[in-house]
């Protein structure tokens, strides 16, 4: 395997693990952890294509990852604040028990 494709395979594995966390766990905090893992997999792809792609001197991949990390930090802060707020009302973080709007 070339270095680029091994990086991409690592990223695909990381994405799948995060996706499994989102689909298979029922705790809101663990779902957020899964989302963070998927975002990190995307960042790894950007860095891999910057390192092994053409025109690395434009620094586009690095810049995208910097902004992506910033957005991920904002997302984590708002998501965790929402979880705390929901917990205050419902006394649980299990998402199958937060179903009062179910039809």
């Amino acid at each position: 395997m070339t270095p680029l494709s091994s990086c991409l395979m690592l990223s695909a594995l990381l994405f799948s693990v995060g996706f499994a966390g989102v689909l298979m766990r029922r705790n809101a905090i663990l779902i957020l952890i899964g989302i963070e893992l998927m975002l990190n997999a995307a960042n790894l792809n950007f860095i891999a294509f910057w390192r092994y792609g053409s025109a690395p001197e434009a620094l586009t991949g690095v810049m995208f990852v910097i902004f992506s990390i910033g957005v991920a930090a904002a997302e984590a802060a708002v998501g965790l604040a929402l979880i705390i707020s929901i917990y205050r009302h419902r006394k649980t973080t299990q998402i199958d028990r937060i179903n009062s709007m179910r039809g």
Binding site: A20, M24, R26, N27, L37, V62, I66, I69, V78, D96
Partner: protein, 163 residues
């Protein structure tokens, strides 16, 4: 060789993070995964991103998750989704990973020769941020400020409603 070690560390941390029963253990494994990924970034020659990863993810996001776990009392019913939905989830995940792996293996774009190690010094990154990417930098600052105020407002104790 180093890459294999750090990749294995990252995957092991990620798998442990989503499969462990105890949420605090989960976050500790998540920190391991983030640190392994930072090492991979350093190996790929992106020093700034590697250190930013450690600062933001290990230093801030993981600590934030720990605080949330401590602020919410988690009852012992972890991962009790029904067997059918668990199986469906596993099936979807395997299908997604299979598609990704097949695409990576069959892509012709990945076969060209290794380019030399590109340079990404602090000076280059700083110049790019201040000149070419100045507007996105301002926008991300605004976004972070708004997200911070929003998060504080959401998590604040709500006042008692007046009749």
């Amino acid at each position: 060789m180093l890459f294999t070690i750090f990749a294995a560390l990252t995957i092991a941390g990620a798998v442990a993070a989503i499969s462990l029963r105890n949420l605090v253990h989960s976050v500790l494994s998540l920190i391991l995964a983030f640190a392994g990924l930072a090492a991979v970034y350093l190996l790929l020659g992106a020093q700034f991103i590697g250190f930013a990863q450690i600062l933001v993810y290990v230093g801030a996001v993981a600590i934030l998750i720990v605080f949330t776990i401590l602020l919410t009392r988690n009852d012992g019913t972890f991962g009790t989704s029904s067997q059918a939905s668990w199986n469906l989830g596993a099936l979807i995940v395997i299908a997604v990973f299979g598609t990704l792996a097949w695409t990576i293996h069959s892509s012709a774009a990945l076969q060209h020769a290794l380019p030399p190690q590109p340079e990404a010094t602090m000076q280059q990154i700083g110049t790019a941020l201040m000149v070419r990417f100045a507007l996105p930098l301002e926008v991300i600052g605004l976004l972070l400020t708004a997200a911070l105020i929003g998060a504080a407002t959401i998590a604040l104790h709500e006042k008692q409603e007046r009749p």
